[in-house]
């Protein structure tokens, strides 16, 4: 069967773009004999291969499942539109790269949800797999459809399509899910509801079908009510307390073809408590949990040896904040340089220290350095709690030019709460600062070669952040502000880039939406929406039509300021933050008051540590874990 399917797929490949996306056969891919495993999971990434293969979380989960002797995990990706058309024409179902098996033959289909604009691709994947789109239409004969990742914290717009959503860190909860599935199946695979009931009792697992929603006359949500006995009113997230104690993949699948992040990745810590008020990731993954530097170095060495990559990236939400960043990076860099391997940090803070760290690692290539002040003026940076001063920005620019960089990229967000035209002018001003500082540091002649990129995206209010109460600026206003900034950028050395505001508008709809938005997603998909995150495919007018036909008022979800008392679609999906704290923090934002980072300063009682009995863990070099201490004590 699989052989015949493989032959049929092979015949399509000469006709499609980038066929190496569909061939599999990568180094470190895990191919197991299906007759020898009990459970089969199709890890289905709802975006292109080159995006999905760059996702560290997917590599982690692939490893977690495959390390079990009783289970196998195989990969599938959303086929590009030409491949989708070819597959439909030939009647070829969505298949996995490891064994050319139709995804519908797996026990579980797992979707990572990283970005709202992949939702239509999720429907493409289910449909191509031949699995009913609606959870309610699936029977015991169909795979269980689960989804996880950051968007799971408001998966309500996908609620009718998902059997289960998984909140939080996946490494431990996946094993509970697989065990529960196995127990249900071994018990005769009887009632699908029984399986869902078992899963709903696992911390981190949300079964949307077990909740009924009612609405107020004004369209806001009245109530979410569990409809099954024993189902929690609020679903808690799964939290890994000690990263050192969980297995990390040092033999990740190495792609044969170019992907977005084509390098080895070692995660140095999880969570970020800097408290930038627009940042979804910062609130759903608290608190900071570091991996020890000794382990990071060990994992990095193994990874480089097992993959042959020429670049190693130390990843986290802000790697320059890693306690032992300097010596870890320095050591790895010195050691790996001899093997022609670059060490890189993907995200750095805006200060001279982080430039120095970036400088230390990129001894080899001085391309451009990226700084993300996010807000133009010091005032708006207080609003968003991006605690960098104008002076920090100038110092970072100076440090960058001094250490040899000739290109500086500056990232900003437009449409932030309380934003005025003065804040927009301040964005443009930062570009001119970079040029002035370049001239001071390098002289007029050399400064002519400098390139500054000002990149501006449109603010999308995200669930579970203090800005969840805020509206998005209207599309027309976002466009006006984009043009307004442009007026102040006349120097040829400054390149001005801005994201399509209409994409951000749909992103806001899908981020803030509730169950009623599912119809709009379905309708958009039926009308042909695919790869909405890709500019060449995104079609705003199609979405407008889809929303209209589905009776979804985009403005209701995106342009409305919400009261502190309003019930949100995501209130029962908890990352552990207390609502009172979010309200307090929103008030502080309006008063331009900053909060401290609880890693180094006082606890601000956001509630996560207490909710989940987890503590911030910083692990400087030489840190000895509790277990090791205990061993030392007993030996002594």
């Amino acid at each position: 069967m699989a052989e015949a399917l493989r032959d049929r797929i092979e015949r399509l490949l000469p006709r499609v773009s980038k066929p190496a996306r569909y061939t599999g056969g990568e180094w470190n891919a895990v191919v197991k004999d299906h007759s020898k495993v009990d459970l089969k999971v199709a890890w289905t990434f709802p975006d292109a291969y080159e995006v999905g293969m760059s996702h560290l979380g997917s590599l982690i989960m692939y490893h977690q499942i495959n390390r079990r002797a009783d289970a196998c995990c195989e990969r599938a990706y959303a086929p590009w539109t030409d491949m989708e058309a070819a597959m439909r024409a030939e009647g070829i179902p969505l298949f996995t790269l490891e064994s050319w098996t139709p995804v519908s033959e797996f026990d579980i289909i797992a979707f990572p949800l990283l970005y709202e604009l992949t939702y239509t691709n999720l429907l493409t994947c289910l449909d191509l797999a031949g699995v009913p789109l609606f959870a309610a239409e699936r029977t015991e004969a169909h795979p269980l459809v689960i989804a996880g990742g950051p968007c799971a914290f408001n998966c309500e717009p996908l609620a009718p399509f998902l059997d289960v959503a998984v909140l939080g860190d996946g490494e431990e909860v996946i094993h509970q899910i697989l065990d529960a599935y196995k127990a249900w199946r071994d018990g005769g695979r009887k009632d699908r509801r029984e399986l869902l009931r078992r899963l709903a009792s696992i911390t981190g697992c949300y079964v949307p079908g077990f909740y009924a929603v009612t609405y107020n006359p004004d369209g806001t949500i009245k109530e979410y009510r569990p409809t099954e006995p024993g189902v929690p009113a609020v679903v808690d997230r799964a939290t890994v307390k000690d990263l050192d104690a969980i297995d990390f993949p040092t033999r990740p699948v190495v792609p044969n073809t170019q992907i977005v992040f084509d390098r080895a990745q070692v995660e140095v810590f999880r969570g970020c408590t800097r408290g930038c008020r627009f940042c979804h990731a910062g609130y759903i993954s608290r608190p900071v949990r570091e991996r020890s530097p000794e382990l990071v170095q060990k994992l990095a060495r193994e990874m480089v040896r097992n993959t042959g990559y020429s670049e190693l990236s130390l990843v986290s939400l802000s790697t320059a904040d890693y306690t032992d960043v300097q010596s870890t990076v320095g050591r790895l860099s010195d050691e790996l340089q001899c093997q022609g391997v670059n060490v890189t940090l993907p995200s750095t803070r805006v200060d001279a220290f982080s430039v120095a760290v970036a400088d230390a690692v990129s001894k080899v290539r001085k391309g451009s350095i990226t700084l993300a002040p996010e807000g133009g003026s010091a005032r708006i940076r207080r609003v968003i709690n991006k605690t960098v001063s104008d002076r920090d920005i100038r110092d970072a620019m100076r440090a960058a030019f001094r250490s040899g960089y000739r290109a500086v990229k500056l990232y900003f967000i437009l449409g932030l709460p309380t934003e005025t035209d003065a804040d927009l002018e301040a964005i443009a001003e930062k570009g001119h600062w970079a040029l002035e500082i370049a001239e001071e540091e390098l002289g007029r002649q050399e400064a002519r070669k400098v390139r500054v990129t000002i990149s501006v995206s449109v603010f999308v209010p995200k669930p579970h952040t203090p800005f969840q109460f805020e509206p998005q600026v209207t599309l027309a206003e976002a466009r006006r502000r984009q043009q307004y900034i442009k007026r102040f950028l006349k120097d040829r050395r400054i390149e001005y880039k801005y994201h399509e505001a209409d994409v951000s508008h749909i992103e806001a709809l899908l981020s803030l939406g509730d169950r009623r938005v599912a119809n709009a997603i379905l309708r958009a998909w039926q009308m042909g929406a695919r790869f909405d995150g890709w500019n060449e495919h995104f079609d705003y007018n199609l979405w407008l039509r889809a929303c209209e036909e589905a009776g979804v008022d985009i403005a209701f979800y995106t342009y409305r300021k919400k009261g502190y008392g309003e019930r949100f679609a995501w209130d029962h999906l908890s990352p552990g933050l207390s609502r009172e704290w979010l309200i307090d923090d929103h008030r502080r934002a309006m008063a331009e008051v900053e909060v401290e980072d609880c890693r180094w300063e006082n606890c601000d009682l956001c509630g996560v540590c207490m909710s989940y009995n987890v503590l911030p863990t910083l692990k400087p070099a030489g840190f000895v874990g509790e277990d090791e201490l205990a061993v030392t004590d007993s030996a002594g």
Partner: protein, 226 residues
């Protein structure tokens, strides 16, 4: 020391582009822990040079590359270690010490032998077309270039052409910097000469070998002795 390698890219690995292949080989050799020599400068990369780029979708058992090593490695050991660390479909077939200081392989290679698999072709029509092709003074096909399509006489670029089995051809054609003939163009030329080949499709292109062909005598030299 420098080793000259003959490499195969077969099966589904034929869908790797030339850049993909380069990256895949480099990673395999790194994993094998072979003592690769790196270029100096800002962005060090291993000193590996390829004789010729191979099109996406074309399989091969005749890719040649030179690999610089910082210390001597026995060719047999190189072959064994490399093959333990290369992914499916990419194989080192032979490794020999590279002969002395000559021009680069890429500068010297000017001919390639292919096996072409044609489906939907009447065998008699195929044979007649090949005979007509060899007898023709010129065979003009449309060549797609960056600026558009233009007519090109491909006859001088085809040195040998023969039917070797049912739906199977062997062709020796010009390749390299002086001119490059695509196997698809050979089929396009054949189709012009025999109307019976109209529905024929080139389903598999397999490169057998690369050569240096003496333009005067037509004598072929394998890359090993260049």
């Amino acid at each position: 020391m420098q080793l000259r390698i003959r490499l195969a890219k077969v099966g589904l690995a034929r869908f790797l582009s030339h850049l993909d292949l380069q990256r895949t080989v480099e990673r395999g050799l790194r994993r094998a822990g072979l003592p690769l020599a790196f270029t100096q400068g800002f962005n060090p990369h291993p000193r590996i040079s390829y004789a010729s780029a191979l099109a996406t979708g074309t399989s091969s058992e005749g890719e040649f590359l030179d690999v610089d090593l910082t210390e001597p490695v026995d060719p047999a050991e190189f072959l064994a270690r490399a093959n333990q660390h290369l992914p499916q479909g990419v194989r080192v077939l032979e490794a020999r010490p590279a002969p002395g200081e000559g021009d680069s392989l890429m500068a010297q290679i000017n001919a390639a032998a292919y096996r072409l698999t044609v489906e939907g072709a009447d065998q008699a029509a195929l044979e007649a077309a090949v005979a007509a092709f060899l007898a023709a003074r010129e065979v003009v096909v449309a060549r797609e270039g960056r600026t558009g399509t233009r007519p090109v006489d491909i006859r001088p670029q085809v040195y040998e052409l023969a039917v070797t089995g049912p739906g199977e051809l062997r062709a020796l054609v010009q390749t390299g910097s002086q001119g490059n003939l695509k196997p698809e163009e050979v089929l396009a030329g054949l189709a012009q000469l025999a109307p019976g080949l109209a529905g024929a499709e080139l389903t598999l292109t397999h490169r057998l070998m690369l050569y240096r062909r003496d333009p005067e005598t037509g004598v072929l030299t394998e890359p090993w002795s260049l």
